[in-house]
Amino acid sequence: MARKSRKIPEINAGSMADIAFLLLVFFLVTTTMDQQKGLRVQLPPFPDPTIPPPVVEQNDRNVLEVLVNSGDQLLVERKPLRIDQLTELTKRHIQNEGRLPNFSDSAQAAIVSLKNDRGTSVKRYVQVYNELIRAYNEAREEYSKNKFGRSFKDLPQKGEQAEEVRKKYPMKISEAEPVEYK
């Protein structure tokens, strides 16, 4: 009976903070905050050798041909171009809506074909790809602002409005089959 009345001594929690600090510092040091960032790309499926490739009637005006050579130089529609002019030109191509004869009929039909040499550097290829995506992003942004009065980023991404913007400017960037350029 005497035992029951005995009090359990209180645990001193004063050093709790020290222990927690120790653990905290350990995790602080070991943490790597790397983020997965990059340009997202969908590859075309591998062509089945038993099935002949479908003949696609593609109007030449709808295809914007971008070529990057082994010297990291840019050739757009067979004319040399600086990389800082590429976004502007791509935007003109996809927003043409049949006005100028050498650009696309409509935004839905517009295609950007990106070809590169085996000697092109990754840096330049990714930069060119970036400019193309930027052109599409800007076109979508403008359309969204005009139509809905809101930035494309602020639209609910799974909603109808965002879907409409994406449908209006489908990102059709084709990475061509590898070709050897002499």
Binding site: A13, A20, Q36, K37, V41, Q42, F46, S121, V126, R134
Partner: protein, 158 residues
């Protein structure tokens, strides 16, 4: 003078630190959750290109990495760019190739999400596209079509 003397006698109240462990624990849990313990030893140098229109990948565990770049240990592995999977050097084709690695990784995930797995190509900016193209062809052959060109966010450098 008397104004200053008055204050001298007064003691500062002790700051209550009883909530300190709570704050520290909160931080601790944050870092515990955010920490990824095991990083594969990086064998190749991958200085990523800097571009503006990057997208973030939400599901980190759904990403498989392929590193391409010049080896860090030049004496042992030379200077030509090489491919790295997990902890080892790999090749484009064959038993240590891209296909084998991606299939191995796919099998670690339930069948329902295998089509959502993304392959991130973390390539040094000096690497030539020929090598990347070979990897891309291998990925297409096993119908692994979601791809990410790893890049850092920022203003495009020349």
């Amino acid at each position: 003078m008397s104004k200053f003397k008055k204050n001298k006698g007064r003691e500062l109240p002790a700051i209550n630190t009883s909530a300190l462990p709570d704050i520290v624990f909160m931080l601790l849990f944050f870092f515990m959750v955010a920490t990824k313990m095991r990083d594969p030893t990086v064998l190749v140098k991958t200085a990523l290109p800097v571009v503006s229109e990057v997208e973030k990948i939400e599901k980190k565990s759904w990403v498989n990495h392929i590193l391409v770049g010049p080896p860090i240990n030049k004496e042992k592995s030379g200077t030509a760019p090489r491919i790295q999977f997990d902890d080892k050097f790999g090749t484009v084709e064959g038993a240590t190739g891209v296909q084998a690695y991606i299939i191995l990784k796919k099998n670690e995930h339930p069948e329902a999400i295998r089509d959502y797995l993304t392959t991130a190509i973390k390539a040094d900016k000096s690497v030539k596209m020929g090598m990347i193209q070979d990897i891309k062809q291998e990925l297409r052959k096993i119908n692994s079509l979601k791809l990410l060109y790893s890049a850092s966010e920022g203003e495009v450098d020349e």
